[in-house]
């Protein structure tokens, strides 16, 4: 089993597809991951599962890999349910990042409505404003805090960090394609990359809120929490402390527009 604990999850899933189903059952969302090179042992550790649940998971994975092996069934005593993301007690700087996700999530929810109800010729400015939101708020205001500050506190060689950085790069490529599409008035390209951006960021933020951030929080000392809090505030000042308010207004306006259009359609 040691051999598999030190193997990338994608390789294990390819060899033993049943493992994918098992991981899904335990809400470990590694299956659709674009990289999949995280080691099985790191995945189990990073999810902070209660000891009894961890034992059960490992038993089932071992059985899937070695069906004929006489694996000892762990004595299971369910203690408490794992915390849901809403109940996670994030440290103040990490909570700031989670709260920034809320506005990005509101934008992402609007994407299908934009695609359905608007056209890129007559509503070009709205799409450009959306791109500005992604670039200025989601990327410059939010992702930059992760890349320039938060990830300094994490081992940059860890696969989960690499995966997050890959996601940021992929998101930037989608934005580039959207801008090019808008320039050429190629609606198909714009909508295709907007949808792809939505899919990517939805999964990305879920991984961060539920796995990465709580894991980082557990490893931070109280000294580091205070440092992060100060550094995030300084970074916000650099970008402009009015940015959240400005983009909150933009999203609220967009919500109103798409809501009205939905009403007109009815």
């Amino acid at each position: 089993m040691k051999e598999y604990l030190n193997k990338g999850v994608k390789k294990i899933i390819t060899e033993f597809p049943e493992v994918a189903e098992i991981l899904n059952e335990y809400s470990i969302g590694c299956v659709p991951c674009s990289v999949g090179s995280c080691l099985l042992k790191d995945i189990v550790a990073i999810h902070n599962l209660p000891e009894d649940v961890k034992q059960e998971l490992m038993y089932r994975i071992e059985k899937a890999i070695y069906p004929d092996r006489d694996v000892k069934i762990p004595v299971l005593e369910r203690k408490e349910e794992p915390l849901s993301p809403e109940k996670i007690n994030y440290s103040p700087p990490i909570k700031k990042l989670v709260e920034e996700h809320m506005l990005i999530k509101r934008w992402i929810e609007l994407i299908p409505k934009l695609v359905e109800n608007l056209d890129i010729e007559s509503d070009k400015q709205l799409f450009l404003d959306g791109v500005d939101f992604i670039r200025s708020y989601a990327d410059k205001f939010h992702h930059a805090k992760e890349e320039d500050i938060l990830f300094e506190y994490v081992d940059e060689n860890l696969d989960i960090t690499k995966t997050m950085l890959e996601d940021h790069k992929a998101a930037r490529n989608h934005v580039k394609a959207i801008i090019e599409g808008l320039g050429r008035q190629d609606e198909e390209v714009v909508f295709e990359h907007l949808n792809a951006y939505k899919e990517l960021l939805t999964e990305h933020m879920k991984k961060e809120d539920e796995i990465l951030y709580p894991w980082i929080d557990r490893s931070l000392s109280i000294r580091q929490v205070g440092e992060l809090f100060t550094k995030f505030n300084q970074a916000d000042k650099k970008v402009g402390e009015m940015a959240p308010e400005k983009y909150e207004k933009f999203i609220a306006k967009l919500e109103q527009i798409t809501f009205k259009q939905k009403e007109v359609k009815r």
Binding site: N89, Y90, S91, P92, P93, I222, V225, G226, T230
Partner: protein, 155 residues
């Protein structure tokens, strides 16, 4: 007699626990790096508070937690207070504000006993931070009468 007894002053006897304790030898080093420590006596701008991680502990905490020095005081600055018995607590609020604004402390950890009257210490700290122009992360820790950490969370 109403049958109600204040949890803060109810008599409790933990001597039975002596039997479970493993005898330890050797001396432990104190982790206290400052004087004074009582909140009325400290100057909030003293050098040891500058950019420090500060523990604001209820008076009883260090007596209840066996490894207080090693686990919670090491590397930190401290002040102690009793939200139930101390007078002039408006000055406490001003001093906490000064920690944030003048000494630019890094974090504030409020350690309290589980008895209800102790929660006033957290209320005092929260109010001072709310009124302060500068914010810092506050952590709340609640200690049981026998020194276990019952809860530890960011406020």
């Amino acid at each position: 007699m109403s049958g109600f007894e204040c949890p803060g002053s109810r008599t409790m006897d933990f001597r039975e626990n002596d039997k479970k304790v493993i005898e330890e030898t050797g001396k432990r080093q104190s982790q206290l790096k400052q004087w004074p420590i009582q909140l009325h006596l400290v100057s909030p701008t003293a050098p040891y508070y500058q950019e420090a991680d500060v523990v604001l502990a209820a008076d009883c905490v260090a007596y209840a937690v066996g490894d207080f020095h090693q686990d919670y005081l090491k590397g930190k600055a401290i002040a102690i207070a009793c939200p139930k018995l101390d007078e002039g607590q408006d000055i406490y609020g001003e001093k906490i504000k000064s920690w944030l604004e003048d000494a630019k402390i890094n974090t504030l950890t409020v350690m309290m006993m589980q008895v209800p009257c102790c929660m006033g210490l957290l209320g005092l700290a929260k109010q001072a931070v709310e009124e302060s122009k500068r914010k810092v992360p506050i952590k709340s820790m609640v200690v049981s009468l026998q020194g276990e950490i019952l809860s530890e969370e960011w406020v």
